[in-house]
């Protein structure tokens, strides 16, 4: 399909001829780097604490080996969760910006049909989500390398798994944004709504559940809970694989620290968030293919 190729090319040019993508890439890299530095530093700090004399005694009593725990992983998971808000915003601007600047008219006039125009957008934004994801994991890794000793460094296999989760989360967040930006095509409005939701609203719900003692499992099925579960469950799995004995109550606490409180296994969380992406994009798609452009 030649026309589909052409539309993909057009969408690529739309992105590369304005500054938004690198305007969001800069904070993406900075926050990821900062998160990496903190994660590595925090890991080192915990190691120094757990290898102090009193802590050694305590861990001997409990039969655990905290000096082998890679606390840095938890910070890495948290960092990725926060940083994927940038590709989310980037995705949300895809359609909302075109409606705002009214270039959507020309976009639809030059496409065979609206479905192809939307599909081209989705493909190109998925690619850009991957670019954000790769930049994120690279910056996080740099930060961790700079601040942690060899004992806190995740292994090669760990990094591969982290990179996979990070790129996947970044792509899915971008696509979720594309859908919602088409569903509520007001650039400022949709960005504020998404940030409020992912940073504040859902966390408040989760906090409320925790205070009232209700199981947080429901959170794992919500958009933020599931996408955080994708990365959070990966880091908890990686942590546990090398941690030896960890007390049962400790695991729940670890999940909360990693941002995977109440979340399902990483692949199931990924599937749940993918369902949210499908719903968001499906809604945006329906809206944009029906809407009168006046």
């Amino acid at each position: 399909m030649g026309s589909m190729n052409d539309l993909v090319q057009a969408e690529l040019r739309k992105i590369t001829t304005t500054g938004l993508w690198w305007g969001l890439l800069i904070p993406t890299v900075l926050v990821a780097l900062g998160g990496g530095l903190l994660s590595g530093g925090f890991g080192q700090l915990m190691i120094e604490f757990t290898t102090s004399a009193e802590a050694e005694q305590l861990s001997d009593v409990l039969g655990v080996t905290p000096d082998q725990w890679k606390f840095s992983l938890l910070g890495i998971g948290r960092t990725i969760n926060i940083v994927t808000l940038f590709p989310l915003v980037f995705g949300a601007m895809a359609v909302a910006n075109e409606i705002g600047t009214r270039t959507i008219t020309t976009t639809f006039l030059t496409a065979q049909n609206r479905a192809q125009a939307m599909l081209a957008k989705l493909l190109v934004y998925a690619l850009w989500g991957a670019i954000y994801g790769i930049a994120t994991i690279a910056a996080v890794a740099l930060g961790v390398v700079l601040t942690s000793g060899s004992s806190q460094m995740p292994g090669i296999g760990d990094w591969a798994m982290l990179a996979l989760a990070c790129v996947l989360a970044s792509i899915l967040m971008t696509m979720f944004g594309v859908g919602l930006g088409a569903l509520l095509p007001n650039a400022a409005g949709v960005v504020v709504l998404l940030i409020m939701y992912f940073l504040v609203i859902e966390n408040a719900v989760q906090f409320g559940l925790r205070l009232s003692g209700t199981p947080e499992t429901v959170v794992g099925f919500l958009p933020n809970g599931s996408v955080n579960g994708l990365t959070g469950s990966v880091v908890v799995d990686l942590f546990m694989a090398k941690a030896g004995v960890v007390p049962e109550e400790g695991i729940d606490f670890l999940r909360i620290i990693a941002g995977a409180g109440g979340a399902q296994a990483w692949w199931l969380s990924g599937l749940i968030f993918f369902a949210w992406v499908a719903a968001s994009f499906g809604g945006g798609w329906a809206r944009m293919t029906q809407k009168d452009i006046t």
Partner: protein, 316 residues
Amino acid sequence: MHDGSGLIAVQNLTKHFGPVAAVQNLSFTVSPGSVTGFLGPNGAGKTTTLRMLLGLVRPTSGTATINGRPFHQLGRPGRVVGAVLEAQGFHPRRTARNHLRVYTAAIGVPDAQADQVLTLVGLGSAADRSVGGFSLGMKQRLAVATALLGDPQVLVLDEPANGLDPEGIAWLRNFLQSFARMGRTVLISSHLLAEVEQTVDQVVIVSRGQTVYYGPLEQLRQQQQRRVLVQPSDIGALAGALQAEGVTAIEQLPDGRLAVSGVDSKHVADCALRAGVSIYGIQEEQVDLEQLFFRLTSGQYAGHVPAPYQQGGWAR
């Protein structure tokens, strides 16, 4: 695929926005080789009609086709029809050339086409400037350039003169006429007849979402009867002499002059000479299309429903 005829056909097109009937049962066709004006006062439904033709607004009922096909069945619409629409936008931080290159890619034409159309509309030197810094007239020229990217057979322009300077309007007029002379189709809307009077050959006049006149502009002109206003020394004698020659459309104006329809001033003067009547003043009343246009469309806010249109003729 489309038939390549260059024909625009609008049939029984209707659009309701909630309770607002923007377009009601509108029908007309536009043929290649001529410039057709799509005229009507603000709110008459012109923009809505053009957007339905271009697949941007879904009709409540009726059809609009280009080359025998609805817009979405044109295959590569950018190579068949180019459009300049009101409220068609640009990204303020994209340069003119980059703006065009987005759409050369989408349409699937060589990038060199972008520079070609920029030169054609006189924006060659502004190619690398951000559109956000463009004047209204420059944006309008860029919109025309965008419409021409795919070398289309059909051009649709919605009030393109808005924001253009006199030089730009003159350029557009010449361009559209030569475009049509190549056997292509041009449909151009305006709320001012005078604005497009020198550009168009055919007109579709709409009022309150309905067609009130549809046909050649020349025919519209001719239907406005010319009148000769004459001040003779003896009104009765001149009127009698004219009547004797078979001229019956004579009317006495309040200021004492005679208004004679259907003949020219030379005819009236010769007749007066033969009758021995002196003429103190004589003048041909100009064909005032604008007045005619106003009369045709003034029903819009008067609350009466115009009768259905007849091709090439009056609605009533």
